[in-house]
Every structure is written in structure tokens, then in C-alpha cells.
């Protein structure tokens, strides 16, 4: 893509012990993050976790209570919002309703003192990248939601910002359009090599788009890692629950053998162990979590290592996979299996007795209070 204005310097973002308190509430609580030039980072978390406040602190719309924000080594914590030179896409699109599409996109160029005609040329160029050039002379009210969001995207990148901020940009769109836009944004971001921060509460959206995901909970970062690592090796029970689905088993540490905790889980026959990153002491209450796709179905009389007996409640087709819900002494658990040609799992019926099993390395143990 040849946007005429030259690309600016790298766009390395450093957030240092950043805090934002409202009265006695810590919306952002001592967050430190390093975001590399050209990286696409998702801030993921439930509503009220502080992700939007953090984004607004970076944008300059919210003044942090403490800490610092540096871009390419320069502190911007006290720089006024309009002098930060970022691009931003809002959940509500927030296009200027009294300006045509092309003037919306040309806005930041005009604010930098670019001549009207030149700014419009560049705006049309940016609109071309999001396939909106043919509608350049429409008014925003004449566009659909998806089209408005494309225009908002063009407006955010036209001045080649060092940082692109996306505040739940697709949550107002329907599912199909949302998926298409996620891929499109990802591609545009790769072409422009612009450092991007994407706020979302949708874990699958974060997985699809981001190079790294920062999972936020109650104003703190629980884990900052690649999507694969966050999924396979969640750092906390919160992350394990928030990213993907998890089966949960409650138990208590019986003893430790060679540093490995041996746990008695509710309803599980025999003692079991699992993988943990924290040191667990004897008598510690633990939660064992297990991905549905790592939960194996076995015949009821099968006995090879730890497992839990149960009765099939229902079998649900999810296209290429089957989700088998099983009632166990430890509650309802789910196992997903390939919908194979043999159809062995598809023949399961509710009421069938089965046994759920797993590999020791797939059961992740977290301490609970």
C-alpha cells in the first residue's frame, strides 16, 4: 500500500506501573506491558476488568493516576490527546455525522494542516484499502454498520499513526460480518506494520487477530502471552476459564511424591496428579482443569490410570466435532471428539455408562482459597 505520507518511527509502546483509580476503585491497577513495534496485541477480559480504561489512558482520553506511558522511549503520559498522533476506532463508529465519508477520513490530515485537495486524495487512497473508495461522497448516515466501521478504520490509519487503538470495534456487527472484519483488520495491520492494541471481551476474536493477548482481570494483567501459550498453559485459573472451555474437578492434595502433588479429586477413582506451576502443599484445596478435547471417552469398565465414571446426558453435533455431555459425581463434564467416519461416538445415547480419562500432563492444577 502506498500511503503518501512517510511511515513514522517504529511504535514501541511501554506501559510502566500504570494505575487509574476512581474514588476507591482501582480500574487499572499497576499494569506494566511492553508492546513491540508492529505487534498486534489484544486486551482481553470481562466487562469492568479495566481494559477500556487502559486503552483510554493510552489514547489520552483518561488521565492516569500513576505510572508512565512511553512511546519509542518518550513519555507521553502528560501529552494532550490531540498531540499524540494515534489512530482510534470506536465501538460506536463515532464518524462525524455532518461530514462526507472522504472528509471524515481526511480529518486528521486537515488537522495537521494538509491542504484540502491533498488531504482528500490521501483519504481516497486510505478508503481504497478498506474497499470504500466508491462511497467516498456518501454521508455516514447512508452507510450500513459494517461500512461505517470500515470508514472509521480508514480514518484511523490515514495519517500513518504510530499506534492504532481499537475499542471493541466489531461488537455492534453481526457474527458473519464480525469474522470477516477481524481477518480484514488483521491483514491491513500486517500491511501497514502499525503497532495495534485491540480491546475485546470476546476470546475467540482475540485468538483470531492478536500476536499476543493480555488477559485482564480486576485491573491487573493475569497473563501476557501468545494465543497458543495462553490456551495451552494458562497462568491462572481465571485465564484457564476465560480462554476456551474447561472441565473442572475439585480436589485436595493428599501428599507430595518427588515434588509432584498427589490429589484426591471428588468422584475420581484413585489418586491423580497433574501439571502445576505453583508449589502445592499437602491439604491444599485445588482445582483441576481439563480441555474438553483432551478429555477422552472410554468404556465404563476401562481402567487405565485416573478417570471418572459417568452417564451420557446428551450428544451434540458441532459440525466436524461432537460434544458429549456426561453427568459425573463431579458435575457435568464435556468431551469433544472428532465426528469420525466410524461413527462410534455418534452412536452414543443418553443413559450410556462411560468413563472419562485424561493424560496427567493435560490436567492443570491451580490452588483455590
Amino acid at each position: 500500500m502506498n500511503l503518501p505520507s512517510p511511515s513514522r518511527s517504529a511504535g514501541h509502546l511501554a506501559i510502566r506501573s500504570l494505575s487509574k483509580h476512581y474514588h476507591d476503585q482501582h480500574a487499572v491497577n499497576n499494569i506494566t506491558l511492553d508492546i513491540h513495534p508492529g505487534e498486534f496485541v489484544a486486551l482481553l477480559g470481562p466487562s469492568g476488568c479495566g481494559k477500556t480504561t487502559l486503552l483510554r489512558c493510552i489514547a489520552g482520553l483518561v488521565q492516569p493516576t500513576g505510572g508512565d506511558i512511553l512511546i519509542d522511549g518518550q513519555s507521553i503520559a502528560h501529552r494532550p490527546v490531540h498531540q499524540r498522533g494515534f489512530g482510534m476506532v470506536f465501538q460506536s463508529y463515532a464518524l462525524f455525522p455532518h461530514m462526507s465519508v472522504v472528509d471524515n477520513v481526511a480529518f486528521s490530515l486537515r488537522m495537521r494542516g494538509e491542504a484540502k485537495e491533498k488531504a482528500r486524495e490521501q483519504a481516497v487512497e486510505a478508503l481504497r484499502m478498506v474497499q470504500m473508495a466508491p462511497l467516498a461522497h456518501r454521508m455516514p448516515s447512508q452507510l450500513s454498520g459494517g461500512q461505517q466501521q470500515r470508514v472509521a478504520l480508514a480514518r484511523a490509519v490515514v495519517a500513518r499513526p504510530r499506534l492504532l487503538l481499537l475499542d471493541e470495534p466489531f461488537s455492534a456487527l453481526d457474527a458473519k460480518l464480525r469474522e470477516a472484519m477481524q481477518l480484514e483488520v488483521r491483514e491491513l495491520q500486517r500491511q501497514l506494520k502499525v503497532t495495534t492494541i485491540f480491546v475485546t471481551h470476546d476470546q475467540s476474536e482475540a485468538m483470531v487477530t492478536a500476536d499476543r493477548i493480555a488477559v485482564l482481570n480486576a485491573g491487573r494483567v493475569e497473563q501476557f502471552d501468545t494465543p497458543v501459550a495462553s490456551y495451552d498453559r494458562p497462568a491462572s485459573l481465571f485465564v484457564a476459564d476465560f480462554i476456551g472451555k474447561m472441565n473442572r474437578l475439585t480436589g485436595r492434595v493428599q501428599q507430595t511424591r518427588n515434588g509432584q502433588p498427589i490429589v484426591q479429586f471428588e468422584g475420581v477413582d484413585g489418586e491423580a496428579s497433574g501439571t502445576t506451576s505453583t508449589r502445592l502443599s499437602v491439604d491444599q484445596a485445588v482445582m483441576g482443569v481439563l480441555r474438553p478435547e483432551r478429555t477422552r471417552l472410554a468404556p465404563a469398565d476401562h481402567s487405565d490410570g485416573p478417570g471418572i465414571p459417568g452417564v451420557v446426558r446428551e450428544v451434540i453435533f458441532v459440525g466436524e466435532r461432537l460434544a458429549i455431555f456426561v453427568d459425573t459425581p463431579s458435575g457435568s463434564l464435556v468431551a469433544t471428539e472428532q465426528n469420525s467416519t466410524s461413527g462410534a461416538f455418534a452412536r452414543l445415547q443418553s443413559g450410556d455408562a462411560v468413563r472419562l480419562e485424561w493424560a496427567e500432563s493435560d490436567l492443570l492444577l491451580f490452588p483455590v482459597q
Binding site: 489514547a59 489520552g60 482520553l61 490527546v81 490531540h82 498522533g85 482510534m88 480529518f107 484511523a156
Partner: protein, 264 residues
């Protein structure tokens, strides 16, 4: 809405009649050729319009009223717009009370305001009758502008202004390029209604004007004390025409209904 039943039709017809009848009588009388106001008029003539437009008292009063209305409306806009923007976006403590205070002239009889201004003017006068009138009428116009600007602005998305700021607009540029255009419909509607209120106002004008600053309604009132010829009807018709004209422009440009009845 197509099936109005008979009683409803009658009711609506009666309402329209009672609202329009006095105005229609005035307009009809203004075209009377005879010496005295009579209804229905016998024949059509423009002689009373000619008399009024050649009368320096009426013409002077008309100019005074237009000048007063324009200056008061402009001043009220300059005061009200920043105040409303601040009240809506920053919600300072007591915002609600402050807004009610700014709207209070609406529910206060203007004669009370006029008497108060008269005393105030005697104590610490502005020295000029015109500027005293402007002060009084500004107070009257403020609530009209506040109401419509408040309605339009509080329903506008604040993120639009944030978007402008993030994309390089200084606070003043945000106001000029985004905020002002956003609230323009409300400002224009309120300003035109406010102007009409000032143009029509008697109490304050009666007590604060001097022979040089007499306004049109005051001159009509004092003419009526000593005369009963159709000249008054002609001058009233001119005033009605100005009011209706501005309302038509307003309706054409923005739709009065949307603006006046979107309430606050």
C-alpha cells in the same frame, strides 16, 4: 391516522378556528380601505400599510425591535452554548440545579423581571436604554436556546468528540469542527424562537425603553391608547409576517416539530 371520527374532527376544527380567528381578523382589517377598523372589510386597500411604512415612529420602532432581537439572541447564544456544553459533558455538581436556574425565566412572568430590571437599572444602570433592553431580553432568550441546545447535545454521542481529539483536533478545533456543527440544529431553532420572543416582548420593553429605543410592540400599544384606525392592524400584520416568515425558514431547514418537541 386517517379515520378521524366526527367529534374529533369537530374538536380539531374548533381549536384551529379559535387559535387562528384573532390573527385572521387583524390581517383582514389591515387591508381595509375605510377610516375605521371594521370587520368584515369592505374592499381591499394598501393605504394603511403605506401610512405605517411612512410613519417614522413605526419604522423606527421596527428597526429597534429587529436590532434588539438580533443583539439579544446573539449574546444569549454566546452565553448559553458554552454553558450547556459544560453542563452536559462535564456534569459538575449541581448541574441539574444550574440548568433549572437558566431555564427559570420561562416560568417567571416577564413583568416581574421587568420591574426587577427597572430597579436594578436605577441603582446601577448601564447608562444606555438600548443595552438595558439587551440585558433584559438576553435573560428572556437564554432558556429558549438552552432547551433546544441541551436536547440536541445531550443526545449526541460523546465519542464523536473523542474521535476528533484523538485524530489531532485541539479543544478549540473540536468545538469548531465537531461540537458546533453537532448542536447547530438546536442552536438555530432556539435562536429563532428566542428572537421571536424578544421581538414580541412588551413588559421589559415598556419599562426600560426611552423615546429613542421604543420597540414595535410598545409603539403599537401606545398608538392604540389614542387611535383606533386600521394602522395598528397593518403594523401587526407586518409583525405577524416576520414571525411566520422566520418560522417557515426554520421549518424548511430543520423541521420545527423535531426540534421543539424533542423536549429536554
Amino acid at each position: 391516522m386517517n379515520h378521524f371520527n366526527l367529534p374529533l374532527r369537530f374538536y380539531v376544527g374548533a381549536m384551529v378556528f379559535f387559535m387562528l380567528a384573532p390573527i385572521l381578523v387583524i390581517v383582514a382589517v389591515a387591508f381595509t380601505p375605510s377610516e375605521f377598523a371594521s370587520f368584515p372589510p369592505r374592499g381591499v386597500s394598501l393605504r394603511w400599510f403605506e401610512k405605517v411604512l411612512n410613519d417614522p415612529t413605526f419604522v423606527g420602532a421596527l428597526w429597534n425591535s429587529l436590532r434588539l432581537g438580533l443583539v439579544s439572541t446573539l449574546l444569549a447564544s454566546v452565553i448559553t452554548v458554552p454553558a450547556t456544553v459544560f453542563l452536559v459533558r462535564h456534569k459538575p455538581p449541581g448541574a441539574r440545579a444550574l440548568q433549572t436556574f437558566m431555564l427559570s425565566p420561562l416560568s417567571l412572568p416577564t413583568i416581574i423581571l421587568a420591574v426587577g430590571l427597572l430597579f436594578l437599572n436605577a441603582k446601577m444602570g448601564l447608562g444606555s436604554s438600548f443595552w438595558s433592553l439587551v440585558a433584559g431580553h438576553t435573560v428572556i432568550v437564554v432558556p429558549y436556546i438552552m432547551r433546544t441546545v441541551f436536547a440536541v447535545y445531550s443526545s449526541a454521542n460523546a465519542e464523536i468528540e473523542h474521535a476528533a481529539a484523538v485524530h489531532g483536533a485541539s479543544p478549540f478545533a473540536v468545538f469548531r469542527h465537531v461540537t458546533l456543527p453537532l448542536l447547530k440544529p438546536g442552536l438555530l431553532a432556539g435562536a429563532i424562537f428566542g428572537f421571536l420572543m424578544s421581538f414580541d416582548e412588551v413588559s421589559v420593553a415598556l419599562l426600560l425603553s426611552d423615546p429613542k429605543t421604543v420597540t414595535l410592540p410598545v409603539s403599537i400599544l401606545s398608538y392604540l391608547v389614542h387611535n383606533s384606525d386600521p394602522a395598528v392592524a397593518a403594523v401587526s400584520t407586518i409583525q405577524i409576517a416576520i414571525a411566520v416568515g422566520t418560522l417557515l425558514i426554520l421549518e424548511r431547514l430543520f423541521g420545527v416539530r423535531n426540534l421543539m418537541f424533542s423536549s429536554r
